[in-house]
């Protein structure tokens, strides 16, 4: 007598179905290692029809399905369901079409983010969103999480850089969402799907927008003796109307960790550094570099460096891009948060994070997209000393702080399983019910990536947090900022 999951062999090749404990183990977590679960089965189909059959099978037998790209996600969005099928899309890695005139590329869901830019480089084009994991993460995962990156400030998130997707519903029906044109008719299901964390359907194909590679790129590295001054410089750069290609800040803890790791000559005594990248025509870039230099000097930058050449520019970025693994070297464990706040509250929120860090006795290194207010506090802890719970609690407090100042619990990593409780803080029950109604419009049996992204009202009641709505909670003690 075969088990239910052995029936997957009826329509999939032998090597496309993994059922043994050892075989499924590599899929037990994604980039958020603290959550692990072994799925009942892993399937690795290689044709659209096979994916359709898997979905129809799961739909018929009411089996949960979790889709997985490269498994680089940081919120547990691809954490398997123990009674379900883990659907790996790793074999869908063909680039189907490049149209250099329309500046689009049509690619399968498992194509790596960085592969797109490589494939279109000969046409002088590139794909703008650049999550730190871009050499590994897939476009399907990027759509599921609405991935961002350093260049989002100027070029937008994933949702701003895709035109059309082909999606399989839980019933295995193929639907096309969006269009090749500037806008499309009907409800904006393209935006609805983007960032829906695999709860509404399975993305199979994506048509992305491409951009011409800028003629000139330059980066300014400015060091500051005070985080507040660095924050003021950010505010003024934006205020004068400059839109940098990237505008990143690192605090002292992050600077030291990065420098110890990649040794690019960062000023290790600075309280903060700003990396401000400008791109465009050589003339535009030259003008903006001068403007940025004047602004950071006005805000008392202790040092200003310009990259002399492309190699040095990449070095300036190397520390920033290696910040997460760099922190990993100096702490047994770290926990990366991802709140987003209105930019004007940066100094206040950084100060409050510092206070929380002292209160919990856990160091926090800050590396973040200053230009768009997307924070990535890295909480340093040691799980072997039982500090995981403390780190999670501190992380939760930071996210609640983000909501309290009018921000949100996720910038680009998604909610996944990690931030379910904080969703109870951000949304009231009416809003959560509306999210569930949207889910039911696509997946009434709740089979696609269940128990992720949107908490049940029951869970929120158990969590018991006060709903802190959109900046309405005052922090009187912080009014001094």
């Amino acid at each position: 007598m075969r088990t239910l999951f052995e029936q997957l062999h009826d329509f999939l090749p032998a090597d496309a179905v993994l059922l043994s404990e050892e075989a499924v183990r590599p899929y037990e977590c994604d980039g958020l290692f603290v959550y692990r679960e072994r799925p009942a089965a892993v399937v690795i189909p290689e044709t659209l029809e096979q994916v359709q059959q898997v979905l129809k099978f799961c739909y018929t037998h009411k089996i949960p399905v979790v889709a997985r790209g490269a498994g680089t996600g940081l919120s547990g969005g691809a954490l398997p369901h123990k009674a379900g099928v883990l659907l790996s899309l790793a074999k869908f890695k063909r680039i189907l079409n490049i149209d250099p005139v329309a500046r689009t590329a049509r690619v399968e869901t498992g194509v790596r983010n960085a592969s797109i830019s490589q494939a279109v480089a000969a046409h002088g084009l590139y794909y703008a969103p650049d999550p730190s994991s871009q050499i590994a993460c897939t476009i399907g995962g990027n759509v599921a999480e609405n991935a961002g990156g350093v260049h989002c400030l100027k070029y937008g998130l994933t949702v701003h850089n895709i035109l059309e997707i082909k999606v399989l519903t839980i019933e295995g029906e193929l639907i096309t969402i969006g269009s090749q044109a500037f806008d499309s008719a009907g409800y904006d299901l393209l935006a609805l799907f983007t960032g829906s964390e695999g709860l509404l359907g399975v993305v199979m194909e994506v048509t992305v927008r491409l951009l011409p590679k800028p003629a000139a790129v330059q980066v300014v590295l400015a060091a500051f003796d005070s985080v507040i001054n660095a924050g003021s410089a950010v505010a003024e750069i934006i205020a004068v109307g400059i839109i940098p290609a990237g505008l990143e800040m690192m605090d002292n803890a992050a600077i030291r960790a990065a420098e110890a790791f990649v040794k690019v000559g960062y000023p290790v005594d600075a309280a903060a550094i700003l990396l401000c990248e400008l791109d465009g025509s050589p003339e535009e870039v030259e003008i903006q570099i001068q403007q940025v230099r004047a602004i950071v000097e006005k805000h008392q930058a202790s040092e200003v460096r310009l990259a002399d050449n492309e190699r040095q520019r990449l070095q300036f970025w190397a520390g920033r891009k290696a910040a997460f693994p760099a922190v990993g070297r100096i702490s047994p464990d770290y926990y990366c948060m991802d709140g987003t706040i209105p930019r004007k509250h940066l100094p206040m929120v950084l100060q409050r994070i510092h206070e929380l860090s002292e209160q919990y006795g856990l160091a926090v290194a800050n590396v973040f997209h200053a230009g768009d207010g997307n924070l990535h506090p890295l909480i340093l802890f040691d799980a072997s000393k039982g500090q995981l719970h403390q780190a999670e609690e501190l992380g939760g407090k930071i996210l609640e702080l983000c909501v309290a100042v009018g921000g949100t619990v996720t910038g680009e990593h998604g909610v996944g399983v990690e931030k379910l409780n904080q969703m109870c803080v951000q949304f009231n029950s009416q809003e959560l019910l509306q999210f569930h109604a949207v889910k039911a419009a696509f997946d009434p049996a709740n089979l696609l990536n269940p128990e992720k992204a949107i908490p049940t009202l029951h869970r929120c009641a158990e969590f018991g947090a006060m709903h802190v709505h959109h900046g309405e909670l005052a922090f009187p003690e912080l009014d001094r900022f």
Copy 2:
């Protein structure tokens, strides 16, 4: 014995309820005059609580509700339901908050588009989306239709320029969607609502993004002896990486009509003119003006003009902005279409529209957002000679052509009642069913603006058009382009 609608007096002031035939007549159509319907009642509430009561009343008694801003829409989105309530939001015109640091403004739904820019002008800021109707249309209507305008090419549609909305559901519950930050958690209901044409809820309050007014603005007017050359110039301007603040084209019929009306000195013998506006720092604008001039000259522009001063710049635009009423002067009636196509197909589509115009014996004037491929063919006809049906049929063919080349049936005017049949061409039944499921997630009783935007499968079956999916229909005879 009072009628059902007389019960509206129980919770609304006397002058906020219109029931007589004469009183409701001014509300019988919006900007698409060819469709008219008198509602059973018009209500003009002035508080949020009154709107909640109206919605609860309609929900309880299963009465259709159609919300209306300024009634300037061009697709019949605010056409009343004869058995329903027309909900005017005209009294919600307060600007609630302006935050010049965060660069946001929070306004009530009935605030006029142009009023926002006026209110924030003292801070050097403005609200970018600029539909032609901007002196009259309201922000709530803009959200419902995802309104565009000349400046969308660079600054995006309404959806790209709003952060947060407060919405009443059909049950009268107030929910907040979006956040004050760069991104927000949960499904992207903000994008879903934007352009949902009043079918999902009633927008009551909008937080818009503001932009700093550019330091310099200049416009190039280039005339061409051939529409194809003008189209090639558009393609090259975009290809070199310039993003104009506006890039508009008018063909000879539109040029002549506009010049006869506003007398700004347009070259009336030109086959087409391009208006290319550039904004930014004075240095950037100067560089780009030279680039654009070189490109249009390369593509054999017969004449190139630069505005000498702000008065002349506004004159260059005056003809474009008056194009619709100008056409209204030379033809008893006109019908404005709103298809969007991938930019690269512009020459082919313009040629095909010309052929269709000859086939139907109806002149077509073309005025459009060339930069983003959003066409506005104006079909000239005489309803008194029974030509309305012909005009509608020709319009339908043009929209089907847009779909066939991979475009969409609406750029910025919405589907409303006008383009329901063409939605059957654009979407297959699975996709339409998904749209209906989303509608049901918000409004299961189908009371909010029913019979708009998304056709029933029954209607599509009656219309009988072939489903032409996303550019998959070939036009072999047009391959020469």
